[in-house]
Every structure is written in structure tokens, then in C-alpha cells.
């Protein structure tokens, strides 16, 4: 079967799955319980990796820009200004989501994939439970809702990384850096980043769930589903980023 037909088939299967996912939960009480579990598992448990990566990338960004911009024609606060624009516009949303596609995406795909191969999803279906809605809906909603928290956290910690490096190296000075990160600030960029990350969050949770839900065979296939979900998520996030940026800022 050609790749195009296979891809079209996958898009169709994904649409059908999403149609089953987005329906009213059988029991709202059960949904809310699962939703809060997923917020903790997918969102709160990702804070540490977001913090570590954001801190170091923020610090290195400031260091690199500081070393690159040594023209007397450019004011030193440019370092803070450019770092802020990078962190706000691309790093905390797009790059962070690419990282989360690995952590959260593989987690979702392997969890649902394991449930598929051990007949747990069949057990749900036999009970008359809409398994797609029960398993996937809480994951998508929890991750999308928690995404702004992760993005804002990443922005703050990234800028803090830059601040610490200025404090340690002294170039640019802390005051210049703080002036730079406040200069020509546009709140729209923050909103833009949050909106973008929520779209990416939806892609990560839904695409990973799709791969896990359709896993067949054994442990090897679950691993494969997990890998495929990370690859597909990464490509879709990059394409969606391009499209979103062109649409909103182009």
C-alpha cells in the first residue's frame, strides 16, 4: 500500500477516534477523578524537567548572545531583549513542547498501548464503556489545561537562568539585563505563546493516544507505537508552529 494511502487512512482513523473521544463522559464524577489524576501525572510531574531545561537554556542563551553581540553600535540591553524574545516566542512554547512530546507523548502511547495488548481496553468495551472517551479525553483536557502553567513556568525559569548568569559573569550587568527583558515588551507575545502551546498540547496528547490505542501485538509493538508517536508529534508541532506563526504574526 502506498505511503499516501496509508497516511490518508491514518488521518481517517484519527478523526474517527477523536469523534469517539469527544463525547459526554458516561459519569462526570469518574471523569473529574481521572482528569485530576492526569493533571498530576502529565502536568505536575513535568514541572521538574521543564524547570531544569528552561533554566539551563535561558542561561546559555544569555551567555551566547552576550558573546555574539559585541558591536558598539548595539546597546548591551539587547542581550536581555533578544533572550526574552527567544524564550517567550519560541523556546517556552515550541521547543518545550518538542521535549514534552518525548516525555508525555511516550508515556501516553505506552500506557494506552500496554492496556490494548493486555486486553484492558477490550474489558472496558465489554462493560459498555466508551474506552476512547474514558481513557483519552481526561488526558487531552488535563494536558491542554495545564499547558499554560508549564509555559509560564518555563518563561519565568528561563529568564531566571539568564539573570543568574548575569549575576555570576557580570556581563551584561544585572541591571542592564533586567532593563533588556522589560524593553519593548508586548503582552501579545505571551498570549501567543500560551495559545500555541495549548494547540501543541492537544497534538501531543491526541496523537500519542492514537498510536497507543491502535497498538497491536506485544511489547515490541508498544515500543514502536511510542517511538512513532514521538516522531509524528515532533513533525506536527514544527509544522503547526510554522502555520500558527504565519497566521497570527505573518
Amino acid at each position: 500500500m502506498s505511503l499516501t494511502i496509508r497516511s490518508l487512512e491514518s488521518v481517517g482513523e484519527y478523526a474517527l477516534l477523536m469523534n469517539r473521544v469527544f463525547s459526554v463522559p458516561d459519569r462526570m464524577r469518574v471523569f473529574l477523578k481521572e482528569f485530576s489524576k492526569e493533571v498530576y501525572k502529565l502536568g505536575v510531574n513535568s514541572i521538574w524537567i521543564v524547570s531544569i531545561i528552561s533554566f539551563f537554556i535561558g542561561a546559555v542563551t544569555v551567555m551566547q548572545i552576550s558573546l555574539s553581540i559585541d558591536s558598539p553600535l548595539l546597546p548591551r540591553f539587547t542581550v536581555g531583549f533578544v533572550s526574552r524574545e527567544i524564550i517567550l516566542l519560541e523556546f517556552s512554547s515550541t521547543i518545550m513542547c518538542l521535549i514534552l512530546a518525548g516525555k508525555v507523548g511516550s508515556n501516553i502511547a505506552s500506557e494506552i498501548g500496554s492496556m490494548r495488548i493486555t486486553e484492558q481496553i477490550d474489558a472496558l468495551e465489554i462493560m459498555g464503556v466508551n474506552s476512547a472517551n474514558y481513557l483519552i479525553f481526561p488526558k487531552i483536557t488535563a494536558f491542554v489545561v495545564f499547558m499554560p502553567v508549564l509555559v509560564i513556568f518555563s518563561m519565568f525559569v528561563g529568564l531566571m537562568g539568564g539573570y543568574i548568569i548575569c549575576l555570576v559573569l557580570g556581563t551584561p550587568s544585572v541591571d542592564t539585563y533586567i532593563y533588556g527583558i522589560q524593553a519593548f515588551f508586548r503582552a501579545l507575545f505571551v498570549w501567543n505563546s500560551i495559545a500555541k502551546s495549548m494547540i501543541f498540547g492537544f497534538i501531543i496528547a491526541s496523537v500519542s493516544a492514537f498510536y497507543g490505542y491502535n497498538a497491536k501485538g506485544g511489547a515490541l509493538e508498544v515500543g514502536q507505537a511510542s517511538t512513532n508517536s514521538v516522531v509524528t508529534n515532533s513533525i506536527l508541532i514544527l509544522a503547526a508552529n510554522l502555520l500558527f506563526t504565519q497566521t497570527t504574526m505573518g
Binding site: R27, T118, A123, M127
Partner: protein
């Protein structure tokens, strides 16, 4: 009662079930036996609506499930309990939560009543002490018993068991068999068990259907299965040395008695 009429199932042109007609009676343990690849699991999946047959009909209390709306099928499924080969317990839930799950989803009971019902079901399968353990912390036999407790939590009319004894030692297998037979009689359920364990068949099989290469080859009770003249069934039953020796000893006794007479 569940009836199967002229059921045919094909996968990519290959006939897996060929014109199956069967009746599964209420309050009895109905067993489907046969070699691996004979179509037992496909038949079970057709019965529970996970696989659509190519043609034919399946009737639950005279009501066809072929072409049934998804919402109606879901309602019917609340009357079904299923025991999977690998138990299919939810890894992330404790034993008690597993048994409470169908009650959480579909009953109108209060949390206290749901808990009480789940505890009753666990006591029924002699697992009152395992409430707070996770599936990974209990043995295969205990997992099967939890799965039975979960299957009966909503008082189902139909119980389906897919090779309930696979991977269990003979003693635990017997325990699970007895539990299935007792529960079937107690709740008056229509129970369908897929198995290729002849001990189970002899112990609890009220009605037995033997499938061979997708064809219903033989129907009968547990008293007849050892004395059939059907060659294919004999091949299946006496593939085990133990059963072969039992049969030889039985034949020898019969011959001696007839000689004496």
C-alpha cells in the same frame, strides 16, 4: 439464552467460522472446545459483539444483536461479564477499585453501597483480604478470581470466559472451575467458557460444542465426551496421555465385566 444461527465469519476471504448453529442455555456452563486456531475465540468475539460476523445471526433472548445500534449494544453489554485469558485487570487500580469500576460507571448506588457490593463480590471469590493490593502484587489465580468478582459485580445475565485456566496450576484451575460453575448456578447466568483444558470440560461442562477448523463438529454433554465415536473429537480429547490411559483402563474394566457376564 443465546442462539447462534448460520454464523459465518471470513477474514480476507478465509473462512474462520463456517455456518455455526448453536444454543447456549441459561443456568448452565456452555463450553466451546477445540484446537488452537479452530475459531473458538472468533466465535466468542462475535457473541460479545467485538467482531461483526460476515453473515448469520446472534440472538440474545430472541433479540438480534446484528446491526444493533451502539447505544443499545452498550446497554446489552452491561448485562455481560467477561473473564479474559490474561484477567485484564486495570493495572493502575487496586483490587477493590477494579471490582468497584463497573459499579462506579453504571450503578446508581451511593459510594458506600458500591463499596459494600464490591466487598461482597470479593468475599464470594474468597479474596476479602486482598482489597488494597494492586494486580502486580497478586498471583495469577488471585487475578482470575478478582476478574470473576469484577465480572459479577453488576449481576450480569451472561458470563463469558476466555480460557479461564490458562497459566494456572491444576489445583487453582479446579478452584476457578468450581467458582464459575457455582456462580452460574447461583445467579442463573448463561455462561460460555472457551477452553482446551479437558479437566475443565469434564468438571463443569454442561453443554459442550467442539469446533474443528471453523466447523461445529460435535455437540453433547460431559458424560458423552469421553465415549464419542467422532474421530476428530477423539483425537482432541485423547491427545493427552493421562486421558488416553484413563480411557484404556476404563475399556479394560468394561471388557473384563462383559467377559465375566
Amino acid at each position: 439464552m443465546i442462539e447462534v444461527k448460520n454464523l459465518i465469519k471470513e477474514f480476507e476471504g478465509r473462512i474462520v467460522l463456517n455456518n455455526i448453529n448453536a444454543e447456549f442455555e441459561k443456568g448452565k456452563v456452555n463450553m466451546i472446545i477445540g484446537k488452537s486456531g479452530s475459531g473458538k475465540t472468533v466465535l466468542l468475539k462475535c457473541l460479545i459483539g467485538l467482531v461483526q460476523p460476515t453473515s448469520g445471526d446472534i440472538l440474545y433472548e430472541k433479540e438480534s444483536i446484528i446491526g444493533m445500534k451502539a447505544s443499545e449494544m452498550n446497554r446489552l453489554r452491561r448485562d455481560m461479564g467477561m473473564l479474559f485469558q490474561g484477567s485484564a485487570l486495570f493495572d493502575s487500580k487496586t483490587v477493590l477499585e477494579n471490582v468497584m469500576f463497573p459499579l462506579d460507571m453504571f450503578s446508581r448506588m451511593s459510594r458506600r453501597e458500591r463499596r459494600k457490593r464490591a466487598e461482597f463480590c470479593l468475599e464470594r471469590v474468597n479474596l476479602a483480604e486482598a482489597h488494597n493490593l494492586y494486580p502486580s502484587e497478586i498471583s495469577g489465580g488471585m487475578m482470575k478470581r478478582v476478574a470473576i468478582a469484577r465480572a459479577i459485580a453488576l449481576n450480569p445475565k451472561y458470563l463469558f470466559c476466555d480460557e479461564p485456566n490458562s497459566g494456572l496450576d491444576p489445583k487453582t484451575s479446579q478452584l476457578i472451575d468450581e467458582l464459575i460453575a457455582d456462580i452460574t448456578a447461583e445467579y442463573g447466568m448463561t455462561t460460555i467458557v472457551i477452553s482446551h483444558d479437558m479437566n475443565s470440560v469434564i468438571n463443569i461442562g454442561d453443554n459442550i460444542i467442539f469446533l474443528n477448523e471453523g466447523i461445529k463438529e460435535w455437540v453433547g454433554g460431559r458424560d458423552e465426551v469421553m465415549y464419542t465415536t467422532n474421530d476428530k473429537l477423539n483425537d482432541f480429547v485423547f491427545a493427552s496421555d493421562l486421558f488416553k490411559k484413563i480411557k484404556e483402563a476404563d475399556d479394560a474394566i468394561t471388557m473384563r465385566e462383559s467377559a465375566k457376564a
